[in-house]
Point group: C2
Chain length 235, copies 2
DNA sequence: TAGTCAATGTCGGGG
DNA sequence: CCCCGACGTTGACTA
């Protein structure tokens, strides 16, 4: 799985290494070492000389990691062209895009490690808990909001945006929705319940000020202990 | 700069390695190999067995990279606790957060490579082209919007939000601003100019419908050729 | 291809 | 600690 590894390669060797693997694009390429990084495109950035970790993936994406944070210091999502060359005795890596004109330039002052790894094809990956899934699950199992709740008109509920948990103005949206339903049903009492995994303090105050309720729905089973209510996405 | 490197370590060795380095948190730790990853927290996800690259940074952040994309397949921004242990003869890495309860679990079925790299302290990093810088630059050099433009009252211009290039409703905001200035200056003609790096088609239509103008301001010097106008952030 | 919108958004600043 | 807002947001979906 380690296709190739160079320890402290010379600029020439590193350049050749990069060219070899970026041409085939069949490996995940990494370089760690002292470098200087600049970016020009939608914005511009400069990173002083420091030790960074550079990742080149098979899809042509590039990312340069500083010692902290999940987010790379610099990146390029999908490059049209990646090249390496020797400039002034140093290996320079250029990654650029044409559609949106931008470029990342890495000057390696001292590479400590370069490696090419074979990663197998993408394996199956399933994510649950997105808004779409949540809407669907709540519409199917409204008794997760409160036992006994039934959906009288699912189309109305979903289409009118009655379930909109992430909207910034969820409270006023709820108010509008409640008002419109109230008009339709006449004298029957209409409650407004905002069901969400969480709520901010100001939002809660506003909600209760309007006489509405908040109901926490756990989208997923708790990590640590058994959940007190069934998770939405278990089955 | 390579503090330690293990090639195809046993589960026991890998566990010890991970414990050693996560305890000190002074290195960037990498493991590449066959693994299975699950996440539970704000959402939940499962990744089938595949070969991934795991990165552990000094700040406790974790990311697991699949062969494609800038975005990690799984991640954890800043963990409260990272532990490793042997379970059923396999090394298991657990990264969890307490404030927001969530956890990433990596089961290494076959590690190919584990390494601990010393990255120097964060080096200087400067990004230019952000909204704040742009506001400032435009206030200082209004003639970038149109030669001859002068700022009559910078306080008013900046404080009233007169320059607000990223607001979703920039057009209506501009309208309000123009109206308020018009009231103040009386009979003098007031033009509304939206100066931004780009504009969407619908926004432009709305803008021109109200009799306002759009002026493209290049925030930065072009990558390829000499820019036709001086960049905002050059000096 | 361009516009729109969710995201395990991440990250940093301010109360 | 929580709330708020920017971001080179990215990425997926849709007209």
């Amino acid at each position: 799985m380690i296709r190739e590894q160079l320890v402290a390669p010379s600029p020439t060797d590193l350049t050749a290494f990069l060219l070899r693997h970026t041409r085939t694009r069949d490996c995940l390429v990494q370089v760690a070492g002292l470098a200087e990084v600049t970016y020009q495109g939608r914005a511009a950035s400069t990173a002083d000389v420091g030790s960074y970790l550079v990742l080149l993936k098979r899809d042509g994406s590039l990312q340069i990691h500083a010692p902290k944070g999940v987010k790379p210091m610099n990146w390029q999502p999908r490059t049209d062209e990646i090249t390496a060359r020797v400039e002034d005795g140093q290996c320079v890596l250029l990654a650029s895009r044409r559609s949106r004109v931008e470029q990342v330039r890495v000057v390696f002052l001292e590479a400590q490690l370069a490696q090419a790894l074979e990663l197998s094809e993408e394996a199956g990956f399933v994510l649950s808990g997105s808004e779409a899934q949540m809407q669907d699950a709540l519409a199917r199992h409204p008794d997760l909001i409160e036992p006994g709740l039934r959906v009288l008109n699912r189309e109305l509920l979903v289409e009118s945006g009655g379930i909109d948990l992430y909207a910034q103005d969820a409270v006023s949206q709820l108010a509008r929705y409640v008002a419109s339903v109230q008009r339709m049903v006449g004298s029957v009492v209409v409650r407004g319940i905002l069901a969400a995994p969480s709520i901010t303090t100001p939002a809660r105050a506003q909600l209760e000020g309007r006489g509405f309720e908040f109901r926490e729905v756990q989208a997923l089973p708790a990590v640590v202990s058994a959940s007190t209510q069934p998770g939405l996405f278990e089955a």
